[in-house]
């Protein structure tokens, strides 16, 4: 089922009753293709959870429409939308067993949708099998680990075969090891069921690793939509560039003069098609090449060994971050001369942003 949002807006009255309304979701327009896994990504307070609530139907939009397929579901209560939702804290009923928790949504069905006990049981088993929790069916949630609870919550959301599956920060309550495992699990379940899935997260790594498409938000406004790699390689503004990637992108102040980019007085790169102006320069950590004649000079700090790669920590007055991090292959030898280290830059890893608007300035390549 594809999901379409049209001019979706949600305003909240300001808490102290003065000033303007808070706009949690500002004029959203996007279409989620059928059967995809979508990551809704942004820092806390960016309105991503509100957006999820709107799609779920727990909150009503102030303006705009939501379509599931061709059906307008804007004014439908959640139970009539055919959504499954996994809450951040799972919201498993503590007094019910795993089995009872999973069966619970089925017992709510009325009229001709009503199911027999056996049918419900079969459905529940099917869902349990999908998330691999059959051995725990008669336990209570408190007797399960966080990861297992998460699976139960997913099973409960899936048991009614929803048209859309929603997950609110599905990994935030898990420890690091489980997180890795569970996100692969979510991917697997989504691939098997082919249900359109939207999940919310503030962790860019999480979103990038499993999503077909990510939506980056900031203060209620969509910044960029696209495949994870595309968004990473081609950010539309400084915010998106900074938000995606670990270690984060290195930001410098620079100047463009005569289609050449200068950082800290040195000419570092050709930037064809860019007019003369002050800019922010974002350079991905992997965009540096160690080169003894390289145009980009920085003060050497330290080398951190990461095994496959090494990370060079260095400093520059033009840097917006306190340190500069560059990641290079560990076969390279780092030999600073008089505390100075020189880099050449990979042009596709260097992004320019307007100093005023922080919007991307595109370089005309392959002219």
């Amino acid at each position: 089922m594809k999901v379409v949002l049209e001019n979706l807006t949600k305003r909240f009255p300001n808490r102290n009753r003065k000033g303007d309304d808070v706009i949690a979701v500002n004029n959203f327009n996007f279409e989620i293709p059928d059967g995809k896994l979508i990551g809704l990504l942004g820092p806390s307070g960016c309105g991503k959870s509100t957006c999820l609530s709107l799609i779920c139907g727990l909150q009503r939009p102030s303006e705009g429409k939501i379509f599931f397929g061709d059906e307008d579901v804007t004014n439908l209560p959640p139970e009539n939308r055919g959504v499954g939702m996994v809450f951040q804290n799972y919201a498993l009923y503590p007094h019910l067993t795993v089995r009872q928790n999973i069966v619970f949504p089925l017992e709510n069905l009325k009229g001709d949708q009503k199911m027999t006990k056996q049918a419900m049981e079969a459905k529940a088993m099917e869902a349990a099998k999908l998330v691999q929790i059959e051995p725990f069916m008669d336990r209570r949630p408190s007797e399960l680990s966080g990861g297992q609870q998460q699976r139960v919550a997913i099973a409960r959301a899936l048991v009614k075969t929803p048209r859309v599956l929603l997950l609110d920060e599905p990994l935030s309550n898990l420890d690091a090891r489980l997180r890795l495992q569970t996100r692969e699990e979510i991917r697997r379940i989504q691939t098997e069921t082919k249900v359109t899935t939207i999940f919310v997260t503030h962790d860019q790594e999480e979103a990038m690793s499993i999503s077909d498409m990510i939506i980056v938000m900031k203060l209620g406004v969509i910044q960029q939509i696209g495949k994870p790699q595309e968004v990473y390689d081609d950010p539309v503004n400084l915010f998106v560039a900074k938000f995606l990637g670990t270690p984060p992108i290195n930001v410098f102040t620079g100047t463009v003069k005569g289609e050449k980019l200068y950082i800290d007085g040195s000419q570092v790169l050709d930037v064809p098609g860019v007019s003369d102006q002050e800019v922010y320069v974002g350079i991905r950590p992997e965009g540096f090449i160690l080169h003894d004649q390289g145009p980009f000079q920085v003060r050497f700090g330290a080398v951190e060994v990461m095994g496959r790669d090494i990370s060079i920590v260095s400093y520059s007055d033009a840097s917006e971050n306190p340190t500069i991090r560059s990641i290079i292959d560990s076969s390279n030898k780092v030999e600073p001369e008089g505390g100075i280290i020189r880099f050449a830059l990979k042009s596709e890893k260097v992004h320019l942003f307007s100093k005023e608007t922080e919007e991307r300035i595109r370089v005309t390549r392959n002219r």
Partner: protein, 289 residues
């Protein structure tokens, strides 16, 4: 298609509205149940005796409000005496209790001594003992000591409360140990540490306990009734019972109501001032007893 959505939406909102109205009717009804006796007592207290007794069907307003009943309540019977007694009783009992339980709670929370756990368990098990069981002997004890119709006799048995010791100890335990060691390094004595550090930190709990105890004292009836038969030592509860039986003449209801209002006002005022604190305190461990 669109119609059915509208229908669902309309039905849902109609049902919500009906439920909402039912909810407010229910709450309003109970509010009326609670408030009406208060309204009634205030209303009756400002009716003159003749106005009140001429109404075969009592009116819900007063044609000629008067404060004479309040004057009567404080002059004809000894209401001011009862007030004063209750005030003395409440202040001394609460004050003495706070000292006793603070010391005990501090010993349990902070000091080390042999048999601490055993003693604390014994204390806790005393919480289960109902007052009715021990009051008989206490009555004998106080009577034999010749303390009937004295404040000492009234106050002594209610100076300790195992429950409040427990409550305060729990709170004391939450004060980080480091503060104690820091104070010890600075050469602070235990007593000084207790009064200068522990008590200020645990003030909210202390206030809760004080308020609960004050309410308890103000309303206490059974023990005072057993231990006093001299009007000079009556507390308000006994006073109201006395007024009812022998006071203004059984029929002078307005004067009785004036006394009732006068007795009820202090606690209600206290409640309205410390509303949040009292309600939080009661939900933590106040059972009207």
């Amino acid at each position: 298609m669109d119609n059915s959505y509208d229908q669902i939406k309309k039905n849902a909102s109609a049902r919500t509205r009906a439920l909402n109205i039912a909810v407010y009717v229910l709450l309003g009804f109970w509010a009326l149940m609670v408030l009406f006796p208060f309204y009634w007592m205030i209303l009756t207290s400002i009716k003159s005796y003749s106005e009140y007794s001429s109404e075969w069907v009592p009116k819900l307003y007063s044609a000629s409000p008067t404060f004479q009943n309040y004057v009567d309540a404080f002059t004809t019977v000894n209401l001011s005496r009862y007030f004063l007694n209750t005030l003395i009783f409440t202040l001394i009992t609460t004050g003495a209790m706070i000292i006793v339980i603070t010391l005990a709670a501090y010993a349990f929370a902070r000091l080390e001594f042999r048999g601490k756990d055993l003693l604390f368990t014994l204390f806790l098990s005393l919480m289960m003992i109902p007052n009715e069981l021990v009051i008989i002997t206490n009555f004998q004890t106080i009577t034999n000591a010749g303390l009937r119709n004295t404040f000492t006799g009234l106050i002594l048995p209610s100076i300790t409360s195992v429950f409040y010791i427990y409550l305060l100890r729990e709170n004391f335990l939450q004060v980080p140990d480091e503060l104690y060691y820091a104070a010890k390094v600075d050469g602070t004595s235990d007593l000084k540490y207790l009064f200068k550090v522990m008590l200020p930190i645990c003030r909210p709990t202390l206030i809760t306990i004080i308020i609960l105890k004050v309410i308890e004292c103000w309303n206490s009836y059974v023990w005072p009734r057993l231990i006093t038969d001299d009007e000079a030592y009556y507390l308000v509860s006994n006073g109201i019972q006395e007024i009812r039986q022998n006071g203004f003449g059984r029929e002078n209801v307005p004067a009785m109501m004036a006394a009732v209002v006068a007795i009820s006002v202090p606690l209600i005022v206290l409640f309205l001032i410390f509303r949040k604190k009292i309600m939080a305190g009661v939900s933590r461990g106040g059972i009207k007893g």
